[in-house]
């Protein structure tokens, strides 16, 4: 049973556009929702994360929107750039199981110049 469902699997966006990636979770005990960014040949690295006590978190061009009642969260990349082309993973964890995260399947983002 997949606990974190991510969509779309791939996404192509024009430079300057908005990229949106969605995730849905099932376990209401999850209390930490990170997004990881992975470039080819590299390991994933934390991009931005949110806890369920807030509905939105923004860091530069990256924003997480969180809907606790719907058990959904999404990543918005504003003014997308070719350098944002990467694979993005959403994840969810219970903080007392520090770091034992459940990951979505990943979204490959391509930003065309």
């Amino acid at each position: 049973q997949q606990q974190v469902k991510q969509s779309p699997q791939s996404l192509i966006v024009q430079k300057g556009g908005i990229s949106i990636i969605n995730c849905a979770y099932e376990n209401t005990a999850f209390d930490y929702f990170p997004w990881y960014q992975q470039f080819p040949g590299k390991g994933p690295a934390l991009l931005i994360a949110i806890r369920p006590d807030v509905s939105e978190k923004k860091e530069g061009r990256f924003t997480i929107s969180f809907n606790k009642s719907a058990k959904q969260f999404s990543l918005h990349i504003m003014d997308s750039q070719p350098g944002d082309s990467a694979t993005y993973f959403c994840a969810a964890s219970i903080n007392t199981n520090a770091g034992k995260s459940t990951f979505g399947d990943g979204t490959t983002l391509t930003v065309k110049p």
């Binding site: 590299k42 993973f89 770091g99």
Partner: protein
């Protein structure tokens, strides 16, 4: 700069061989993890460890074992490699206790091909 180092970036092994994947972290983290990454399947947890000599099974432990003899080192072992274990293997670490943030720190991965 914090670092998780996986000693082998690319390996090619034959079916039935014993394979060791080594991971070392320099952040004094208590928790260490081995994930497997396959296209369209995301990252799946194989094994994890919260302390030296301690290990727990993740979601897909079959065919794998681990060893953690020192805090900084976590090894993944394939006792008898099979072709369906061809994959990218990612090691990660995270702090525990008061330093808990939930963030995982990943190595760059070990791409294993089993022929």
């Amino acid at each position: 700069d914090v670092k998780v180092t996986q000693s082998s970036r690319y390996l090619v092994k034959r079916t039935g061989e014993k394979v060791f994947l080594e991971c070392v972290q320099d952040m004094d983290h208590e928790n260490m993890f081995w994930y497997r990454q396959d296209p369209g399947l995301g990252l799946r947890l194989i094994y994890f460890s919260y302390d030296v000599k301690m290990k727990e099974k993740g979601d897909i432990p079959e065919g794998y074992s681990v060893s953690r003899e020192k805090k900084e080192r976590f090894s993944l072992i394939l006792e008898s490699a099979s072709t369906n274990q061809t994959s990218m293997y990612l090691c990660a670490s995270s702090p525990a206790g008061l330093a808990v943030t939930g963030e995982l720190f990943f190595g760059e991965g070990s791409r294993l091909t089993v022929l």
